[in-house]
Subunit: 528 residues, 2 copies
Amino acid sequence: MSNVAREPHGANLIAGERVVGTGASWHAIAAAGGAKLPGSFRDADDDQIDRALRLADESFDSFRATPVAVLEKFLEQIALEIEALGDALLQRAHEETGLPLARLTMERGRTMAQARMFAQVVREGSWVDAVIDTALPDRKPQPRPDIRRKLVPLGPVVVFGASNFPLAISVASCDTLGAFAVGCPVVVKAHPSHAGTCEMIAEAILSAGRACGLPAGFFSLVHGKEHGVGLALVRHPLTRAVAFTGSEKAGRALFDAAAARLEPIPVYAEMGSTNPIFVLPGALAERAENIAEGFVQSMSLGVGQFCTQPGLLIGVRSPEFSKTAASITEKAAKIPAATMLNAGICAGFHEGVAKVRAIPGVQVLTPETSEKSSATPVVVKVGARTFAANEALRHEVFGPFSIIIECDDLAEMLALARNLNGQLTATIHATAAELQEHATLVRILERKAGRIVFNGFPTGVEVCAAMHHGGPYPASTHSFFNSIGSSSLLRFVRPVAYQSFPDAALPLELQASNPRGIVRRVDGRVDK
Amino acid sequence: MSNVAREPHGANLIAGERVVGTGASWHAIAAAGGAKLPGSFRDADDDQIDRALRLADESFDSFRATPVAVLEKFLEQIALEIEALGDALLQRAHEETGLPLARLTMERGRTMAQARMFAQVVREGSWVDAVIDTALPDRKPQPRPDIRRKLVPLGPVVVFGASNFPLAISVASCDTLGAFAVGCPVVVKAHPSHAGTCEMIAEAILSAGRACGLPAGFFSLVHGKEHGVGLALVRHPLTRAVAFTGSEKAGRALFDAAAARLEPIPVYAEMGSTNPIFVLPGALAERAENIAEGFVQSMSLGVGQFCTQPGLLIGVRSPEFSKTAASITEKAAKIPAATMLNAGICAGFHEGVAKVRAIPGVQVLTPETSEKSSATPVVVKVGARTFAANEALRHEVFGPFSIIIECDDLAEMLALARNLNGQLTATIHATAAELQEHATLVRILERKAGRIVFNGFPTGVEVCAAMHHGGPYPASTHSFFNSIGSSSLLRFVRPVAYQSFPDAALPLELQASNPRGIVRRVDGRVDK
């Protein structure tokens, strides 16, 4: 354990071994100021990628047979190893991403909590979703055989971490940890924008794996600044599934590559959304100031770099709504400029804002700034018809940017809701009476979003069993699946039915005596 | 109710209305003899397809709000309406498919049982998979909000029926019925090889819908002999998911079209497999004759036209294995020629067999026949190395065709298993002691198949909760999902999380008092 930052070795970590890439050398860049940070990295080549996947595949049978107690210990050990990285981890992540140390400290806590949540999932064991239909030997016209189904792991999983959560949605994300929990080996593509942080977390995972005697190959980390590395990982014949969090453009490119394979595999891409907030008149009458305050906090939190950042605020024209817009503007204008995750994201933000500014009918509320190396909140206002007529306004501008949309009436608000793209979240601010009266809005949003928030704000995704972090395209590439919380593991499993097996040859979870004591559905009844 | 066959009207059924297609007129063809059957059909055009999907979408909010008691009644009514079609249905299906009346009578029973199974699923209600994490207002550093998740229907679903089950896996399949059970409107593309049967079942569904006052648009049937109709259905922007059972070529074409959409949608294609059977020496020593008998019955059942038809029998060279092969040959040769589902399938069978015959090292065991308008069982034998060296042998030949593969030893058998494609089923014949000793084979097959059968045969797919009818590609396009049994409905839903909702505004299944009395997971514990 050391709190002294050391220079990253910069090598790929292939089945526990340091293997220096053969691509051109590159450096991680300080988010603030753009200086080269210590340590140089090289992209993995095709042979190295092949080696990572082959060793992952070779480790699979051994890894998935890991005893429950060991796997549980391993996941808990990951939390301890991450903690043991101490301030050096937070410092490196801060330098690479520009995120404040206080935020990173909280994010580290969330990352450790994720590992412990999956340890609990492994211990409890019911995730296998055991369903048992016992034999009916006397049934006419034919007897029913004994059929027992459970979920089994898919095999090697490739994970692409997000730029905006260098700890909780990167190397030790619910993607990686969920795959481990079900027994899938994982190959992570390190995010080039925080490659040093990735290396540290990867070493923590490897250390936990060694402590628990896991087979080499259960985990690899490969570097790739060029898109070719990611595509090669997705196209590798041994890859069984892919988890990705990032931009729509990159996610779609990986999805397309996977769909074009001889044997297609799922790419579960979480690609963000504009997270609309609908404000009904009664809520404004009751607490306009409170809504304005919460909205500005949520839209600017982490320099607006959240998948669930609310990019749209939708209300009906009224003096109260105008006052709320003015209050939002005033509060947003007070927020100081802040460093974004990297220069590319910062440039993308300013380009996105410039494009929106240029659309006729868009009224920019916040003061313009010429400073392009950081970001301040930008709030604009449009009428509902202008919004409907401009496809560009429907796409996410990643960063602290929001559009206030003024509708003529509630009917126009509902029409706007019906025309939204798929969303991770949608939020309604209303009185309880309004929510009942305008149940239609809820019904519409059930078709659009993965999570519907009442009188709150969408940022702050709770890591729990009931969470759904996903949604209709382009929020995600498959709306059944979730990337945060325990149900994220469903992306890495598939059912197998065992027909007429002798009890002793069945997996433990399906044996008659239920030796693992899990929740099962037996002949139509829940049984524990 | 009438047992007198009437001539099909041949029109598309769009939201309950007969709409004659604008394509060229075509007839259903008698499977036996090739005569034109009464009734002429025309393909739907793009406007008609658009109308079916638009009306499906317009009906969605009303259809998914159908009270549970009405939806349950509707599904039960479908069973009654199908029964009320009487012998006329069986007669038409017999003429169109060549399947014997006794088989069709059983298949009708299965179809009715499917409708009743989904009625029961609707009544019971736990399919929504309710997960509740209650608020922790005092949690530090932040309070946890109340989050409640359930599954909601996707919207309009397009279903393509299979040629080989004109009743149970066609218009009233687990695809259609599962979609109805969760509240999704359905547009079925009628199978051109049994278009008259499709029309009759569609009328039965519409009649049940009228009896229950369901909204127009909840169901449409469109005809399409040309591939363009299917592609237009998949590409329509309002289509939310597609279920298909059929050939790998057709399934992949639909999958590719869906993946290439601006907004990709899932195509759940079940495309069949070669369903290997592994025979271990101990089982042969105990009951070789029994295995030979069961194998021939299973491979020739329904003229071999089952998705789970066992196309491979794999054993280790021995006098007993040779004797078993001889016994299989003898029994197979006694099976009379039979009519296949249609001329195209019959031609495909004979072409597939001819291709295999031409491969050096393939020994044809059954007598050759020059009759190409029907099919008799064909059994060939190859060594494991010949099998491994010829990609063509790994693909399904649809019909009563099986390959007996002789391995030098168990190691070669395991190597062969490792190199199999994805499968719907894999079967092991072994003594209980052998199954324990060769657990490696089970581990390998868990990576290959959706269902593993012990000492049985894969044909005869039980329609129940524990069934999994699916598997790794090319058995299906998404190995998580199933097309037969109650879990087939998972293809037509996605989760929505409700955050901080007032109790009264929540869906019934998530309200505090659990008014539907369903099984729920509340704060990590199963609760009913």
